[in-house]
Each structure stands twice: as structure tokens, then as C-alpha cells.
């Protein structure tokens, strides 16, 4: 197996244009190296992109842009994310230990497309688009919803590289929360992960609600029916319970080594209700 270092973006794109699906892109390696070891993938060439310049920035310019090589530690400790994108920072801080967070990247977490990917729910509630580029066709942008198409399956063409993510602006009375259920507080793959983002008007009425979950279906998803149920409400107990029931209808959890489907169905509405309460109190606590 060849190991090909990319000094810059152009070298990486040239390699991918030449090799196509014979290449496996590698950044921090924390997922790819395990899959190689287990024989789950057998590329001819590893295209190493960890050193590519210009893909590790966190920049706000209307929308928020996160470079694909931003590491989990970068996300967890970013002063830009710690307030209005705290679900992203918090989710990143719950991925593996320090050793994984130090090299594992946001681009890797998304492209690995695990049903339990911690970063997918917060990115989904922030309306993330995936930024892709190829040598022959240039740049394109794909909504994250359309990018992750199945368990470990993404809509990246073999000659394309994911360069980053563009997130919706988060201004005004908007707050976000990420909740994760695991057997312990660290080093866990999510049994259930849930992100929520709420915006309210001056009266405290919810005028934008976004909910996304992982580990309860083959692909993390936005729960539109539950989102609709919260719109126009002030997230009181009954309204939140109705939304929770709609969220549960969309979930298709399985039994696996971490938990049973039954447990996931029990815990999902509970973490949803606690997330709504926490998020709403942050966004509306100072209102009369």
C-alpha cells in the first residue's frame, strides 16, 4: 500500500483525480487505521492530507466556516464556538479521549459517516453545507442532509476532497445544546446523541426549532415533525411531550453491543425533553 503525502491542496486533488476510488483519504487516521487493520477497506494508496495548509481554520464571515482539518480539540476549545455553536464544541469534546481528539478531524468524523457520529447532529441543526472540490470540476456545496446517504456512505465523488463545512449564522435569541447518552462519561460511542437549536422572538415564542439525532437510525437525521410541533410554542411540558412523541416515531433504533432498541426508545424522549428545557431556558430566561 502506497502512502502519498500531499503538501498542498493541489497535490491532494491531483492524486485523487489520478487514483479515484483506489485512494483512501487519510487525515488524523483514527478511523481509517482501524478499518485498515480490520481489513474493512483495502485501498491501493493512502492520500495523506493532514499537512495541507488552509484547511484548519475556524472563520466567521456571515456564515461560520470550519475547515475539514479542524481537530476535535480545536472545536472543543474554540472561543468562536463556545457560545453560539456550543453543541458543536461540546459534541467534539465527547469524542474519544485526548489522544483521539488531538488528531481526529471534523472532516474525518463526517466522512466516516458512522450512525453514531457525534458531530453530525450539531452540524445538522446548524444547517451545515459540505464544501467539496475536485481538480476537474472545481468547487461545489452539498447540504449535509444530502451528503450522508447511508451507514458509512457519503455523496463524495472519488476525485473530490471535502475541504470544510459552512454553518448557518447563529444570531439573536438562538441557543444550541448537544446531549449524549453513553455507559460512562468519556470514551463512549453514543447510545443516543441529540442536538437541538432554538430561536425565540421577543415574547419568548419559538420561531425556529431544529432537532437532530444520531445512533437511533442508520443515518443521523433532522426530526422535522418534532421541529414543527415546537414552532409557535414556549416549550411547556405538554408541547414538548407532543414533540417528543413525533421524534420517537421517526426513530428506528436497533439492538447492538451498546444498548437495546427498547432502551434507546426509552431514553430518547427523556434527553429530548431535558435538552429542550435547557436550550429554552438559555434563550428565554431573561424575558418577562
Amino acid at each position: 500500500m502506497e502512502f502519498r503525502r500531499s503538501g498542498d491542496l493541489d497535490e491532494a486533488l491531483t492524486s485523487l483525480a489520478e487514483l479515484g476510488d483506489k485512494a483512501q483519504v487519510l487525515a488524523g487516521g483514527t478511523d481509517v487505521m482501524i478499518q485498515l487493520e480490520r481489513g474493512e477497506i483495502s485501498p491501493e494508496t493512502l492520500v495523506h492530507i493532514e499537512r495541507v495548509e488552509g484547511m484548519r481554520d475556524i472563520a466567521e464571515n456571515g456564515r461560520l466556516t470550519l475547515g475539514a482539518l479542524v481537530t476535535h480539540i480545536d472545536l472543543a476549545q474554540s472561543p468562536v464556538l463556545c457560545d453560539r455553536y456550543q453543541s458543536v464544541a461540546h459534541a467534539a469534546s465527547l469524542v474519544g479521549g485526548w489522544q483521539t481528539q488531538a488528531v481526529g478531524t471534523i472532516g474525518g468524523n463526517v466522512c466516516n459517516a458512522s450512525p453514531a457520529a457525534d458531530l453530525l447532529p450539531p452540524l445538522l441543526v446548524h444547517g451545515a453545507n459540505v464544501l467539496l472540490v475536485s481538480k476537474d470540476r472545481g468547487e461545489r456545496e452539498v447540504p449535509l442532509d444530502d451528503f450522508v446517504v447511508g451507514r458509512r456512505t457519503i455523496a463524495r465523488e472519488p476525485d473530490e476532497l471535502v475541504t470544510g463545512f459552512s454553518l448557518d449564522n447563529s444570531e439573536g435569541r438562538t441557543a444550541d445544546v448537544y446531549k449524549k447518552v453513553g455507559r460512562r462519561g468519556a470514551m463512549e460511542v453514543a447510545i443516543v446523541g441529540l442536538a437541538i437549536r432554538l430561536s425565540v422572538d421577543q415574547a419568548g415564542t419559538i420561531n425556529d426549532a431544529r432537532i437532530a439525532v444520531c445512533s437511533v437510525a442508520p443515518v443521523p437525521f433532522r426530526a422535522q415533525a418534532a421541529e414543527q410541533a415546537l414552532l409557535g410554542t414556549k416549550a411547556n411540558g405538554e408541547e414538548t411531550s407532543s414533540a417528543a412523541a413525533l421524534l420517537l416515531e421517526q426513530a428506528e433504533p436497533i439492538d447492538d453491543v451498546r444498548a437495546t432498541a427498547r432502551y434507546r426508545k426509552m431514553v430518547l424522549p427523556r434527553i429530548f425533553e431535558s435538552a429542550v428545557a435547557e436550550c429554552y431556558s438559555r434563550v428565554a430566561s431573561d424575558l418577562p
Binding site: M1, L26, T100
Partner: protein, 158 residues
């Protein structure tokens, strides 16, 4: 199989890394350099026994490609002693009984060394959080946290 050469620093010494695509840094350190202080536990980034520092950051060397270490400064347990003396982290682990079978100890030493360089006076919560990726099946962790706390206090006094 394509083999590639590149160079890096290991414990301050220039080395040539020779490996194939998927050769891990752990395999290179143990098999090519004979630095067997770095241990192989789970091979999946769960246990932290293979932790080394790359440019000061702790990483699990079982998941890091050897060839990705080009030009990097790699520190292993063999580079921790100061002359013939143990490092402060090693001494503290001995003093508190933070070692039993010792298999996980090199990894703990590396993570704690990285933590104390970054944050010389960590709280016990910060220590526990930094050590989330290092598993120990003997000590129950409290003596290991105690070892780091003893250094935290020492640094405060000096």
C-alpha cells in the same frame, strides 16, 4: 508493496522512518527502533497504552501512520528520564503507588507529561479528563490522579 523513507526526531535523535502505507508508528517504534517501552494494548485507540507525544500532543501510536510522522518531534517513554534519574511524573507515580502491573504506565506517563507542560497546576477534574483515554485495570486510578495532584501542588510551591 511500496516502501517509503522519511525522517523525524525520536527522543531528540534523528531517525529514518522506513515503512509501508499502513505501518503504524507503534510498529515502527517497537520493531524498527527497538523502543519497546511503548506498549500495544487494544490496537484500536481505546486503551492509551501506546500513547506517545507528537510535537507535544499525546496520540495513540497504534492508530498513527509511521509515515505521517515526517519531520515531527516524537517523544516516547524512553526519552522521559532526566539523565539517570526518573522524570518528576515517573517519581510521583512511584511515590503514590500509581503503578501495579505497569503495562499501562508508559502511556499514563506520556499523557500526564503533556498535561503538566500545558497546565502545570491541573485540578483533579482536569487530570481525570486528560486521562480519559488511558485505561488502567489495576490501580483504580485514584493513585494515578494523586500522583499528578502531588506535582500540581509542588509546582505551586516553587
Amino acid at each position: 508493496m511500496n516502501s517509503t523513507n522519511t525522517s523525524a526526531l525520536v527522543n531528540g535523535r534523528p531517525v529514518t522512518i522506513n515503512g509501508q502505507g499502513a505501518t503504524t508508528l507503534l510498529e515502527f517504534l517497537r520493531n524498527s527502533l527497538g523502543l519497546t517501552g511503548t506498549k500495544e494494548g487494544c490496537s484500536e485507540g481505546e486503551c492509551g497504552a501506546c500513547t506517545v507525544l507528537i510535537d507535544g500532543r499525546p496520540i495513540t501510536s497504534c492508530l498513527y501512520p509511521a509515515l505521517a510522522a515526517e519531520g515531527r518531534n516524537i517523544e516516547t517513554i524512553e526519552g522521559m528520564n532526566e539523565g539517570s534519574d526518573l522524570s518528576p511524573v515517573q517519581k510521583a507515580l512511584v511515590a503514590t503507588g500509581g503503578i501495579q502491573c505497569g503495562f499501562c504506565t508508559p502511556g499514563f506517563v506520556m499523557t500526564l507529561t503533556a498535561l503538566l507542560r500545558k497546565q502545570p497546576n491541573p485540578s483533579s477534574n482536569e487530570i481525570a479528563s486528560a486521562l480519559a483515554g488511558n485505561l488502567c485495570r489495576c490501580t483504580g486510578y485514584s493513585q494515578i490522579v494523586e500522583a499528578a495532584m502531588s506535582l500540581s501542588e509542588l509546582e505551586e510551591e516553587s
